[in-house]
Every structure is written in structure tokens, then in C-alpha cells.
Symmetry: C2
Subunit: 137 residues, 2 copies
DNA sequence: AATGAAATTGAAATTCATTTTCATTATTAT
DNA sequence: ATAATAATGAAAATGAATTTCAATTTCATT
């Protein structure tokens, strides 16, 4: 539960609660997508400054509740980290991001790593192309 | 051969030859690694401005001779495109970049894409961790 | 070789996302 | 209520990449 993790983190770091921050975070978890700062800014009715959004997302990342994604765009996206590991399809037309997780790929990665004596810490697989809708349209 | 491709491109676009550009490009292909603008600037003895290096790498990318890579760093890297498709191991300690290509991974990607009715255009697999040397050190 | 149109260059200016600063406001422990 | 400290937003700063522009170079045509 993100509420507890957040509460613990704030307490630990002697940070204070604030309405703005809560609004951002609640919304972020409700929407539960890959969002960038501007999208949050717009969807929150421009009631919270970008600075605060940036700061809040950094904070969530630090306490492990969000993951920074850098797809092939100018700006970052963030996604809630409550989901298990997965990789992404990214539609080049509509920008939709589809998540998937495949055991075989993960296993194969581990095998190759072994072959190269490479110790894996993390990985990132992004597949760019066209989603079902956009192939038709 | 990159020389011909480049020559054809310059001719086609009515661009002129220049010593600076040639120096950059020759060096780029000689080194044959994943370089960023600053590394090129330094290794070329600061004899060519960063602007020109940026422009030259853009040009190479446009004519298909270089590939822009955006690993998890602040700045871009470029690599010669004469190699066939491959993915990367990236060492978190020494920064070494190891290339690999695995049929099984590529096949599996295609299968998953089919399952999601996703039409693949390109993909990017980056595996972060520690290279053989850095595990020991 | 000389000319001139067009491309190239480097330095400085600009852009754009993100971070930082700082003065003001809000929160919290006492 | 007070004091200490965190949170906030606006503006400034940062940094990579791009663009601008005046000066230089290239090259086709004389
Ligand atoms: Mn995701
Ligand atoms: Mn490579
Ligand atoms: Zn789409
Ligand atoms: Zn290493």
C-alpha cells in the first residue's frame, strides 16, 4: 500500500504533510499510467506548480513508489511502481504504452548475461511500432 | 562502405566537402565505439567546435551511417551504423558498452508482438549491470 | 587564376526540460 | 501562541542540443 510506504518515508525524513502533495500523489495513483509533468499539470487543473510536481515525483521515486521512464521523447514519464516488472510497447502514432511481461525473454536475457559474464542489475526493453488501432486507422 | 554512402548523400543534397567534417567522420569510424560529443571534442584535440561535431553527427544519422543512442545518461552517444542490429550491456561502474545479438530474444519479441497485434518498427534492449572486470575489482 | 553563389564554421544566442534559489506561506512540535 | 522547519511558486539557473549570424571556405563557371 503506497499510503503506508509514503507515510513511513515522510516520517523517517522528518518531512511534513501537505495538501498539494497529497493531491498530486492521489491523482498519480488513481490515473495509474505513464504520465509526464505537463500532463499532470494540466489534469490537475494547473492548481499546483510544475516545480511542486517535479519535486513530488522525485520524492515518490526516492521512496520507491514511482519509476522514472525515459522513452524516446524529450521529456520523462513516471509510472506507479506497484506493478511488477514489465516492458513496453510504444505506439509511434498515438503514443499508447502497452505493458507486457514475458518469462522467455527474461530467461534468455539471463542466459546471455551468463555467457558474457555480465551481472545484470536491471534492464529496459522498449518496442516501438504501431498499436492495433493505429494499424487500421 | 561509408565513404561512398557519404559521398552520394553529399552529392544528392548539394553539400560541400570540408576538412573539418572529414576529420570528424574519419575519426568516428576509426574509433568505432559509442561516443558522445564531448569525447569526440576532446579526442580531436578541441580543433573542431562542438557545433560542428553536433552537426556532423546529425548528418551521419540522416544518411544512415550513424545511430543515435540514448542510454541512461544525460547526453547522447553515437555509433557507426555499419554493424548489424544488436543490443547492449552497459556497465554501471566503468561505462563499458558490450554489444550482443540474440536470435531467440528477437524471435520472442516478434511472437509477443503478434499476440498483442502490435506492429514492430524497432526496439531497444539495454541491460545494465557489471562487466566481468568490474565484478572482480 | 578570378569570381560569386552557396555551404561551412565557431561563437554566441536560443530553446526546452529540469533543477535550484529564495522569499513567502503552511505545518508541526513544544 | 511561538518557534522551527518544511512546502510552495515564481523566477533564475543549468545543461544538452539547436539555431543564428558574420566570417571563411568550397567549387562550378568564367
Ligand atoms: Mn509501465
Ligand atoms: Mn552498439
Ligand atoms: Zn497507436
Ligand atoms: Zn565495467
Amino acid at each position: 500500500m503506497w499510503e503506508e510506504i509514503l507515510a513511513r518515508y515522510l516520517n523517517e525524513k522528518r518531512l511534513k504533510k501537505s495538501a498539494k502533495r497529497e493531491r498530486i500523489i492521489k491523482f498519480f495513483f488513481k490515473v495509474d499510467k505513464h504520465l509526464n509533468v505537463d500532463e499532470l499539470y494540466e489534469k490537475l487543473g494547473k492548481k499546483v506548480s510544475r516545480s511542486t510536481i517535479y519535486r513530488t515525483l522525485k520524492l515518490l521515486t526516492k521512496c520507491g513508489l514511482a519509476i522514472e521512464q525515459k522513452f524516446e521523447e524529450k521529456n520523462r514519464r513516471y509510472e506507479p511502481a506497484h506493478l511488477s516488472h514489465h516492458d513496453h510497447f510504444i505506439c509511434l502514432k498515438c503514443g499508447e504504452i502497452i505493458e507486457f511481461n514475458d518469462k522467455k525473454i527474461e530467461n534468455t536475457q539471463n542466459k546471455i548475461a551468463q555467457k558474457y559474464n555480465f551481472k545484470i542489475v536491471s534492464h529496459k526493453l522498449e518496442i516501438y511500432g504501431y498499436c492495433e488501432k493505429c494499424q487500421k486507422g
